[in-house]
Symmetry: C2
């Protein structure tokens, strides 16, 4: 990166003159202006904004960094909406880190981004990452993930799993299938654990289990079709009377299969994503919007207080009974 000095030297002028040119050219002769412009183009000179900010006393406004995982569930956009609204009252903007590159890259950038706080969604941070933030005095909170000693706003996934099982059980179903995804993460494990535990309480197990192969960076709706085929297969090869889908998108495919086969099987999803109400899907509602909202509030209060007090908040899922 060329600096103002190099441009000045090459153009045969002082740095002050270059500066004037770069700032609109007031009090600079036409001739000088052109000379400087030419050199700066040749060198591809761009004024260093950090330096400019420093001298101008223009510090960037506080910004909240938001870190997502790469697998982009529609649910994330609900969270984002919540964060956006939560931040609306205040003067914070949000910087959404792009996890296209690997995560370590993102974390290395954080200290340089002038962040007032960080919202980490759906995953945990490593010790290293947390330390990095701590050193820089940047508070952080987890969204949709729980960890002891970290400010976490999270859903009670275990309870959610139990509730799904209870619903199916309340329908007096005995042969229950499960359609999940093949990634192992906290949310999945807890949800699954709650579900199986409740089944076991009633001396039942999972009659049939299928996992959908979820890849990173894929639009999420592609899995709907996969679930459709999977469900057809389950229905045709197994004697089943209920299905629990790990998330609503999977259930949508399931509904299609059910309708096509005119199957009376009862199903329940998880999340209550927007289309669910239109489809009449019974599901366990995860208030994603609220999660984002709470997260925004929490991080703002941490920033203001300068505190590190851990005030985690567990959000309760809710059974939404519709027609499935």
């Amino acid at each position: 990166m060329p600096t103002i000095k190099e441009v000045a030297k090459l153009a045969g002028v002082g740095v002050g003159t270059v500066s004037r040119v770069m700032n609109g050219g007031q009090n600079v002769s036409q001739e000088t202006m052109e000379k400087v412009l030419e050199v700066s183009r040749k060198l591809k000179y761009k004024p260093n904004r950090t330096a400019r900010s420093l001298v101008k006393g223009h510090y960037s406004q506080p910004t909240i960094g938001v870190i997502f995982t790469t697998a982009i569930h529609p649910f994330f956009y609900e969270i984002l909406r919540g964060i956006y609204y939560g931040l609306q009252q205040s003067h914070y903007s949000m910087l959404v880190f792009n996890m296209g590159d690997d995560r370590s890259n993102v974390f290395n950038r954080i200290p340089y981004e002038n962040l007032a706080g960080v919202l980490n969604v759906s995953t945990k941070m490593t010790m290293e990452e947390k330390k990095q933030l701590k050193i820089n005095g940047v508070p952080y909170v987890y969204l949709d993930y729980f960890e002891e000693d970290v400010n976490s706003i999270y859903l009670d996934n275990y309870l959610g799993g139990e509730m799904a099982a209870e619903y199916l059980l309340s329908k007096n179903l005995k042969k229950i299938a499960f359609v999940g995804e093949n990634t192992s993460n906290q949310q999945f494990e807890k949800r699954f654990a709650g579900f199986t535990a409740k089944l076991k309480e009633n001396n039942l197990g999972i009659a049939c289990q299928r996992l959908i192969d979820v890849k990173e960076n894929m639009p999420f709706d592609v899995y709907e079709k996969e679930s459709y085929y999977l469900t057809k297969e389950i229905l045709q090869k197994n004697d089943i009377d209920g299905i629990f889908y790990y998330c609503d998108e999977f259930a949508y495919g399931g509904i299609n299969a059910l309708r096509e086969l005119e199957s009376p099987v009862n199903i329940i999803g998880f999340d209550d994503t927007v289309p669910s109400k239109y489809l009449g899907l019974t599901t366990i509602r995860q208030p994603a919007y609220q999660l984002g909202l709470e997260g925004a509030r929490q991080i703002m209060s941490l920033i203001i207080s300068g505190d590190n007090k851990v005030l985690s908040k567990c959000i309760q899922p809710e059974l939404i009974v519709r027609s499935t």
Copy 2:
């Protein structure tokens, strides 16, 4: 804002020592450390990150600023998704400006935010705003808005309106109602103009027109109910055989009313928001995701080229015929 100097003076040490303390406390005696920490707490001292960045040579990574209007249509999140994916390949993050405060505030911040480019969604910028960006060498593109001489990625709303009319006309309908919103903006006007023009071509006018009062900062789904009541009223008081809804959310309310009244009226929406396919709503599809994607690509190429070439792109709407 206290500076390192003030802390040093009050603590009776050199600035270098304060700096060491603020950076983890290596090579500082326990005693000095505590003294400095106390003073810095008392003064609420926070190291100036801009200065730190300057000396460290750590400049914040290029970031794309995204500016939305305050009225938050679900459609915006689709655009956001597109932008996010578009930026994924690169190293750009996105800074979503929060329009909670007034717009001028946002624009005043832009120069200080170290932005590589700006994506302005659904509205135009003032001369002043454009000038501000130009002075700072920040390229910008409009998304979902067209203006001569500005890089615009936009939908052909006029054509969309025509297509909606054509569809209704193709069903041989003659008494067509329109449900819109009471805001006047480019998108609305063009869509409406295209619609009425096509109607007029067939010697028809709008038989009945209602506008929903859309307020800023309201979750958009509240209008679904409003449209439901509106539609019922239209159906009961007028002799109507077709309705064009300005956007799908309005049409959702319409579908409910239609079903309740067992009305055979044909309707068409606009946007093709996610739930529409599940509801079987016939609509004019607006590829919001693609809009965002193109926008991301365009701004990146402008940044790289350093060009100001105007390469606007008009995106075609698409008629999606479903069961309504």
